[in-house]
Structure formats: structure tokens, C-alpha cells
Symmetry: C2
Subunit: 210 residues, 2 copies
DNA sequence: ACACAACCTAGAACGTGTTCCTATTATGGG
DNA sequence: CCCATAATAGGAACACGTTCTAGGTTGTGT
């Protein structure tokens, strides 16, 4: 139930893969993820073809599969990285808003706008996340952790020590994350517009953080 | 943005496809869906292979594609049928519970238990639903309607005239549906156990229908 | 009964995710 | 520096979703 990176070290949900391996390997990994973003940004899920990723990243197809055992792993890893980037950007700044609900909404709307600015990329990452099966459990778990962490931080406003976050906070954050994902999915599949997505999220968050 | 059934009539979200076409065509459609259930029940999403479905349903591959334009359409249609069956079964009975939250939880837990009794089938249907893109929007919409309808009925307890259901009810029901789907997905992908799924749903519903 | 359209069957063919194989190239220990 | 091992390149091969083609069958209006 663990995957291995090119160095053969076990990669669990809590490992930071980014720093593993030689410099050349880190660069290969980066090239692969960059190629993935590029292709996804232009053509969405379908355009992220493994042969194309390999070619654009200048690695052999087999090497790509050694780094990411499937297209879904690749895309979910890309999503996770995006979330972690977003999270550290948020950690660095103060979150406006007087109540938890206001702050959470501020953060979620910001994130959502960001993702809606790159619809194809978002479509690719979201659909991969949704399609993932149990073999991608650890990557999915990592994404869930990032998302929960983003929401709990927003609830408390700005950077916060881990101790200040209760189990109840986490529960609330998870429910909010669920709603956010569903709303994002409805938008990605064209069932709802951007304003509807925002409104739905707003309703849900005010309901949950009442 | 509409598909056509074998008779060439437009099939929107509100049509009842089940009754369209000749008797032979209705039987073919049923054989296809039955084969889909069979294969999904045994082997999940991966086992629902179009060639296998066609063979087991005793139709040509091209015919299968005429009835359902993709594997995803096929599986989402199967999911929709399950939901509609569940809904009519619920409509026929009284829902126990003194508060909306109690009744909704009763119904959701019942549904969830039912789906967890057929893990492979649930995996197949849920993953198809999650993976669907905008070309499946109308089928997905139908599923969402069924789900919302199940929840609003539960909120009101038993059968209810359409007028009694307010926009607010629908909003609440949608949020609950979102959470339910996410919880189901977490269970399907092995990220949470059945009791955890139930607990998560319980928390969320009590929070939302407070 | 006939003509015509719609539908169906059987199976080839194609695209893309995935696996596999062989030769070549780093990498690290003696 | 040399060897053993792992990693990579290059590309063939395979699986399954999907499309397409050719010919047979069914149903319908006249």
C-alpha cells in the first residue's frame, strides 16, 4: 500500500517526496510536473497524455511511470502540490474577516477564483482526484489534509499553533471541504456557473459555521 | 447537448427513457443494465468492460453504444435508476424519526448500508459519477435531483406534496447531498471505514439541520 | 407485397493508458 | 579506476474504450 520513488524509499502520506533523490531526479520530477501543468492548462484532462508528458518533460515513458505509477497518481500529485503551495502562501499572510465564516469564505473564494482562472487545469486535476481509486489513497489523503489545514487555519485567522485546533474544528473543516469539492465538481462538469458555485459555498459555510 | 435513444427521440433530463421504444428495445435496454449490474457487482468499475457488457446482454458492441454513448453514461444511468428505485421505495413508506435530522439520518444510513452491502457495485457507480464530464451533465443532473428529492422527502417525513418544499429545503438538501457523496467516496476509496462514514454523515447532518 | 428507412450484428481498426524488454548510461563501493 | 547495481532511454506490445464499415433484419407506409 506504499509506492516507492526512484530511490526505492517508501513514500507515505507524510513524506516530503520533493526533497528525495539526487538533484537530477528532483529536476526530472519537476520537469514532469511542469509538463503536466502545461498540457493540462491547455487541453484539460484528455490532453495530459502520458506519451506527451514524457516527451515534453524529456524523459522516457518508462521513467515517467517510475516516478508516477499512473496518470491519476500524476495528476493527484500535481493537485496536492498546488494545495500545499496555496497553503504556504496563506500561512504567510493575514486573513481578513471578523468571524470564522467570513475568513473561511474569503479563503475559499480566493482559492476558487484561482482555480476558475485556469478552467482546463482545474478540470484535469479535479477529475483525476474524483476518479482515483484506493491505490491512490495516500495521495488523496494528502490532498484532504492540505484542504482541511487550509480551512482550519482560515477559521482561526492567519497562522496558528497546531494545539489551538480542536477535533471539532477538524470535523467542521472536513464537512466544508466536502461541500467545496462537490461545488467545484458541479462547476467543472458545467452543471453550475461560477456565481452559483460561490453562492452555494457561501450558503453552506454560513450554515456550518453558524 | 442532447443524446438520442434508438428511436431518435431527444432525451432530456426529464424524459423517462425507460418507456420509450419498442418492447424489444426496452428489453435490450434492460438486458444491458442487468449485465452492467452483474459485472459491476462482481468486479467493480474495471470489470464493466463494454465488450463484456455487450456479450452478456447479447447485443452487438455497436448497439450497446447506440443505447449508451459511453461507459460513463452507462454507469451513471445505472446509478440514476438505483436512486429512482430507492426514492419510490421510500415514498411508499413512513419515515421514522421526530425531527428532520433524525429522519434524514435514518434514510441516509439506510441508503448507505444498502450501498455498502454491494461494495463493488457502489465503487463502479460512484466512480463513474465522479469521473463524468460535461457530456454527461443531464444524467448527472438527474441523479442530483433524485438525491435532493430523497433528502427533502426525508426532511418532511414520508410522502409530501411538492408545494411543501421550500427553496431553503432544497438548499439544505443539496449541501447534505454533497456531504453524503464525499463521505461515500471516502469510503469507496478506502480512506474511511463504514462506521467513520456513518459518524461523519451524522455530524454533518446534525450540523446542517440544527 | 414492395420499397425504404431505421436498426442490428459481427468484427476490424484506432487511440491512449499501461506493461515489458533490451541496450545504454549514471552512480556508488572497493 | 573498475565493477555491480540501479536508473534511464527507446520503443514494441498489450488492453480496453471508442469508432467505423459492410451486410443482414425488422418495421412501416403505400
Amino acid at each position: 500500500m506504499t509506492t516507492t520513488n526512484p530511490l526505492g524509499s517508501a513514500v507515505g502520506a507524510d513524506d516530503r517526496v520533493d526533497n528525495a533523490g539526487s538533484a537530477a531526479q528532483r529536476e526530472r520530477r519537476k520537469r514532469i510536473l511542469d509538463a503536466t501543468y502545461d498540457l493540462a492548462k491547455d487541453g484539460g484532462f484528455d490532453a495530459v497524455q502520458m506519451r506527451a508528458v514524457a516527451e515534453q518533460a524529456d524523459v522516457a515513458l518508462g521513467t515517467l511511470y517510475r516516478y508516477f505509477p499512473s496518470k491519476i497518481h500524476l495528476l493527484v500529485s500535481a493537485l496536492d502540490q498546488q494545495f500545499e503551495d496555496a497553503q504556504s502562501r496563506l500561512q504567510a499572510r493575514d486573513i481578513p474577516g471578523d468571524t470564522p465564516a467570513e475568513r473561511v469564505l474569503y479563503v475559499l473564494k480566493r482559492l476558487t477564483r484561482g482555480m476558475q482562472g485556469d478552467p482546463k487545469l482545474t478540470e484535469a486535476l479535479t477529475r483525476a482526484f474524483m476518479f482515483a481509486d484506493s491505490s491512490v489513497a495516500s495521495e488523496i489523503h494528502a490532498v484532504g489534509m492540505s484542504m482541511t489545514s487550509i480551512v482550519t487555519q482560515a477559521m482561526h485567522g492567519g497562522a496558528v499553533e497546531r494545539d489551538a485546533i480542536t477535533d471539532d474544528d477538524v470535523t467542521l473543516a472536513r464537512v466544508i471541504g466536502d461541500v467545496w469539492l462537490s461545488a467545484l465538481m458541479a462547476w467543472v462538469t458545467g452543471r453550475s456557473t461560477a456565481p452559483e458555485t460561490a453562492a452555494h459555498m457561501e450558503t453552506a459555510v454560513r450554515l456550518i459555521l453558524r
